[in-house]
């Protein structure tokens, strides 16, 4: 698969990496350290029951529409994400917050159903000032419910328009059996069918893995510039082997480093943190294609930089920006708009997407779409890297 000179150069570098111990640092210690840190930081929090959430629920409207929020909260309680207490009046709920029995409550006001029909439904969230995170979570649940309601309402109005009738409040009420629940459920079902989601621990670990992968492969690819500075590159280029084989040697080294580091992290996070990565073959495909894309991208960076120091800076900046854009710190889709659209240009996004598609016991072939995009990126960026590096070394 690789030219013999490419393998020769890569294994020479590997020997040097083993000798100066950087291989073990980048390939084993760093991923294990990361897994350990993630476990300490997120290990408990991101599991069901990891957060101490005690919420109250108060439905003053008492209609079918308003009760659907209660059903959503009960489902979350059943999934062990929170502890729910139902209240009959506002004062009792407020007193429970005051006493610390609950951290926040969500109130469905009287007239919610009617306001829903005219498009101005309101929910109220009251939280303990000392329980900011829990209050934020309660607000997020309320907002998510509201979004579902709006979507359902819009769908009903659109349907009414198509039918050629005016969308009066009565008509809307008549057409929507249970708009809020329907929309909320549809949303969740859509996510499940379309883009599976990694659990919290695995998502964070995968995000950090692809983020730090760029730094790992960077050290391999940029070795080309170190050889240029040290003078050994001239000797390599003068040898009777194709120039691409010399450049490829550094790429192969970076590929080996990246695959080794990612595999170590996957295994370690599974054993230590209980991360669930999905079908091993699918995960292996994602690792290979993700690393290949990262190596090619770093090759472009190496070709564009003026010096090894400049390349390191440029590579770091690229890794951080693409990492943020690709959603390694938080799911970028939630930001919406241009940011979410831009995230698809990053290997990070497709790596996480591919792993997400493998979640929940999905077959390994689910990795194909994201892997295909990553292979495409690797090929296009690899050709670009070859061109800029050839151009650089020709001068």
């Amino acid at each position: 698969m690789f030219h013999w000179a490419t393998r020769l150069i890569a294994f020479k570098d590997l020997r040097l990496r083993v000798r100066d111990r950087s291989f073990f640092i980048m390939g084993i210690l760093a991923p294990l350290g990361l897994a350990f840190i993630f476990n300490l930081t997120f290990g408990g929090v991101l599991q069901p029951g990891g957060l101490d959430l005690r919420f109250g629920y108060l439905d003053l409207d008492g209609t079918e529409s308003s009760s659907s929020l209660g059903e959503v909260l009960e489902q979350l309680e059943a999934d062990d994400f929170l502890e729910l207490t139902r209240f009959d009046d506002r004062e009792a709920a407020a007193a429970a917050v005051e006493d610390g029995d609950i951290q926040a409550f969500i109130l469905v006001p009287e007239g919610f159903d009617q306001e829903l029909a005219i498009g101005a439904p309101k929910l109220e969230v009251v939280g303990d000032i000392d329980s900011g995170t829990a209050t934020d979570v309660a607000s997020a649940i309320a907002r998510q419910f509201g979004t579902g309601v709006d979507a359902a309402r819009l769908a009903v109005i659109t349907t009414a328009s198509i039918m050629g009738v005016a969308p009066t409040p009565d008509l809307i009420a008549g057409l929507t059996q249970d708009p809020a629940t329907a929309a909320f459920t549809a949303n969740i079902t859509g996510l499940d069918a379309d883009i599976r989601q990694l659990d919290g621990v695995t998502y964070i670990t995968a995000g950090m893995a692809i983020f730090f992968l760029f730094f790992t492969v960077q050290s391999g690819v940029l070795g080309l510039l170190d050889e240029e500075r040290e003078g050994t590159l001239r000797r390599l280029m003068a040898a009777p082997v194709p120039r691409a084989a010399v450049i490829g040697g550094k790429g192969l080294l970076a590929l080996i480093l990246g695959v080794f580091a990612l595999t170590t992290l996957v295994v370690a996070s599974s054993l230590i943190m209980g991360a669930s990565w999905g079908h091993p073959l699918g995960v292996a495909i994602m690792i290979l294609t993700g690393v290949a894309a990262a190596v090619s991208l770093m090759g472009v960076v190496a070709g564009l930089a003026k010096s090894p120091e400049g390349a390191e800076n440029l590579a770091s900046i690229t890794a951080v920006i693409l990492g943020m854009l690709g959603g390694v710190f938080f799911p970028i889709e939630s930001a919406g708009g241009a940011l979410a659209a831009a995230s698809v240009i990053t290997p990070h996004y497709w790596f996480l997407r591919g792993l997400g598609d493998l979640a929940g016991g999905a077959p390994w072939t689910n990795a194909f779409p994201a892997a295909a995009v990553l292979i495409g990126m690797a090929v296009v960026l690899g050709l670009a890297a070859g061109w800029v590096l050839n151009r650089r070394f020709a001068e």
Binding site: A5, L8, I9, K12, R15, L16, R19, D20, E230, G231, T232, R234, R235, L236, M237, A238, A239, P240, V241, P242, R243, A394, E395
Partner: protein
């Protein structure tokens, strides 16, 4: 002797800078050809094109009948390239360096093993073969740097200023090695800005400056170009006297430098007292005097109007 290297009309520009402009020469087997010129004269650019590292804008390089090109590997295994930088891996042992580069040149098995042992013998590092090269002295590293270029028994050995930064003892060892290689029939292309090295090693010398070869020939033929002239090197506060000296009988030319004058004269011993007197009369003072027989440095001065060290 057969022609090993033929360089014809090489030209290379970097933007507006013409680094090499129509360079041409040839080297035969068993011959050491020196490219003598100051830093920035175009030596390294020229040999980079010969080694296939840099594509020329014009001209061609043929080594042992194969045209050398950046895009092709043809003919490259006939060249042993020793770059000016120490192109070795400090975290590999001496033997590991040789084995790696030997493999890169297509050697393997018993042949590689025997060649490594032979080269270690030639460069005098057999007893340090398994030491990491980062523990080597500068001279030992230089010897290994040359040894790598010899591994595959090239037809043409290119040495780019191989003695820069080397102590006198190691320098002598390197020069002796090059003499032995040439005697054994290898064609050697040697670039240097040290006149003494060119005079000692080279059968023929090409004097290069500003990207062009100003003159080429044996040491004897080059020196003959400037006739039987002596060179007097005067140092001190002497530059203001340059014009006065030019007017003197027996003075052929005067080349001012930084607190020095290179004065070409017909006979140094007879004119020296008058020279010193004239400098004093012109308000100058002399702190040092050297008289040199005609040599390549004088030729370079004659051809370019500047000293090799400038």
């Amino acid at each position: 002797m057969s022609q090993v290297l033929a360089v014809d009309g090489l030209r290379k520009s970097f933007g507006d800078l013409v680094a090499v402009d129509g360079v041409g020469f040839h080297v035969e087997s068993g011959e050491t050809y020196g490219l003598l010129g100051p830093n920035g004269a175009g030596k390294t650019t020229t040999i980079s094109m010969i080694a296939g590292l840099l594509a020329p804008d014009a001209g061609k390089v043929v080594v042992a009948g194969e045209e050398i090109s950046v895009r092709s590997t043809r003919g490259r295994n006939r060249i042993g390239f020793v770059p000016q930088d120490l192109a070795i891996y400090p975290d590999l042992t001496c033997r590991e360096n040789l084995v790696f580069f030997g493999r890169l040149y297509g050697l393997g098995g018993d042949l590689l093993k025997s060649r490594v042992d032979e080269v270690l013998e030639v460069i005098g590092l057999t007893d340090r073969a398994d030491d990491l090269t980062k523990e080597f002295s500068g001279g030992m590293k230089r010897r290994l740097n040359i040894g790598i270029g010899l591994l595959h028994e090239p037809t043409l050995l290119i040495l780019d200023e191989p003695t820069v930064g080397v102590d006198p003892q190691s320098r002598n060892a390197i020069l002796t090695s090059v003499e032995n290689l040439s005697s054994a029939g290898m064609a050697v292309l040697y670039t240097t800005h040290y006149m003494e090295e060119a005079e000692r090693l080279c059968d023929r010398v090409g004097i290069i400056d500003e990207g062009t070869i100003k003159a080429e020939g044996t040491r004897r033929s080059l020196v003959a170009m400037i006739g039987e002239k002596d060179r007097i090197v005067l140092s001190g506060d002497v530059e203001p006297a340059a014009d006065e000296l030019r007017k003197m009988d027996g003075v052929v030319d005067v080349y001012p430098g930084d607190h020095r004058l290179d004065v070409m004269v017909t006979q140094a011993s007879s004119i020296l007292p008058a020279l010193l007197t004239r400098i004093t009369e012109a308000g100058g003072s002399v702190s040092g005097v050297e008289i040199e027989e005609p040599n390549l440095e004088a030729v370079f001065l004659h051809l370019t109007g500047k000293a090799l060290r400038d």
